[in-house]
Point group: C2
Chain length 249, copies 2
DNA sequence: TCTTTATTGTGTCAATATGACGCAATTATA
DNA sequence: TATAATTGCGTCATATTGACACAATAAAGA
């Protein structure tokens, strides 16, 4: 959480990424263990003076996960005055957990623009910590440890927005493999929404959105009927991202 | 668009507000005519170092419109590198439209966090220009003049998000009077969506959301049957703001 | 090879929701 | 007192949804 090249950094602004990982039927969040402080943080960083904010968010995600071309959704700017909890930082300095200089940096006011992404846990070999962190961990959403600043609030908001977005946006592109089965897609929804959906009704509704193309292949391996592999109709998928899947009025 | 007290301002960050006004059946946007430059701008400003970003957005809206307690929706951070179009600014300086010092300020990189609000045009007596602008105007969404920076893009995005939000959020609170009729509420939707809705089906759906309470009063004055006055069930309205009106899954 | 098990694709059906519209009631005005 | 305008309430055919039945089939075990 320290600026590397302050002179080249857009001032007062940070980026935080909430990276959701689907691990079986559990939704996890990528967090980083800080080096000196006994707390965790979201992957994030600062914006180079010469780069667009969206570009920088994508770069950070790539640096941590190795993943590229992900769907990164900007969802909120957190701009409370004491969102970095200056009294906590003073305590860290008093207890000599961090140096006075480090405390000075951390006590500066930053507003943070937050992005979320949903990634395939299996595609991320080993998340890479940044200069300020020791190691990374995928943590179940329900078992978050003590987080620095307002990062717990950021994660809560990200999860709320993600669930809301499922009501009008498709999901799965660059998250599932190019070809995937209906049960695999359903698992994405069930994991995020923490809710069982009737598989026959799920199929019917999903197909009605007209964003899937059935291939002539199936996924073998299970000791049961081999499910059909689908792919996204990229055109219609993108159209649905903009125009929404359903409209009330 | 110039900082008043740079030393007390959070650096590199501005706020822009897209204030939609319902004027009969037309959706208008509040814009400010700049003093020296022959362009228009969104109401906005900078964030005091001692204030939350949301608070500052509300303050700006109150300064311009006199309106308080509005629903202000933060919707996007615009963070492109050249969103202030530095080449345009250099031209203004070259043509001596603005001073070199003013050009210097305008050419600095700022990211802007944008909010939208929908207000009752009739409640705003006379919008007040700020120090950088000559006068304000409610401009129909379809007839926007030349705007500074990326403000046209900001308005387009605001309108897109507003229409999207109507699909899962209620609208009308602090926009309509405390008591309002069903046709008045419907007009809000029709004006924003630019779409006629069957009044009988609108009523049925709106009532099904269970956020309205019928009073025992009616609105007289028209030469026709007096419509019933409704008010919002504030509890359920707020719940719908968080949880959404409908859910796909 | 022949079951068995697990899970998929397809389809049914009652209940509910939606879109399009009819009609009597009622308010101010002519 | 009639007229015009617009509202509240209701109908009906059609579409959508939720709950569930059943045959098909891929792999594993007997």
């Amino acid at each position: 959480m320290k600026a590397l090249h302050l002179e080249k950094i857009h001032p007062g602004l940070s980026i935080d990424c909430v990276v959701f990982g689907l691990h079986g039927d559990t939704l996890k969040v990528l967090i980083l263990k800080l080096k000196k402080i006994d707390k965790w943080a979201l992957p994030g960083g600062f914006v180079a003076a010469t780069e667009a904010v969206d570009t920088e968010a994508a770069r950070m995600l790539k640096d941590r996960t190795g993943l590229d071309h992900l769907f990164l959704q900007q969802f909120h700017l957190f701009g409370a005055v004491d969102r970095n909890k200056v009294s906590d930082i003073r305590n860290f300095v008093d207890q000599q957990i961090i140096s006075a200089a480090e405390g000075e940096v951390l006590a500066q006011r930053f507003v943070t623009i937050s992005y979320y992404a949903v990634v395939d846990y299996a595609k991320v070999q080993a998340p890479t910590p940044d200069y300020s962190s020791e190691f990374c961990e995928w943590c179940p959403l329900k078992e978050l440890p003590s987080l620095i600043h307002d990062h717990r609030e950021i994660i809560a908001k990200a999860y709320q927005v993600l669930k809301r977005d499922l009501n009008y946006q498709p999901i799965g592109y660059n998250l599932l493999p190019d070809k995937f089965t209906m049960p695999e897609l359903q698992a994405v929804y069930e994991t995020i929404l923490e809710k069982k959906i009737d598989r026959r009704n799920f199929r019917r509704k999903m197909l009605s959105f007209d964003i899937l193309i059935a291939t002539d292949e199936v996924r073998t391996g299970g000791s049961h009927k081999a499910p059909i592999l689908y792919k996204f109709d990229e055109q219609k998928y993108q159209a649905a991202m903009v125009g929404g899947l359903v409209s009330l009025w």
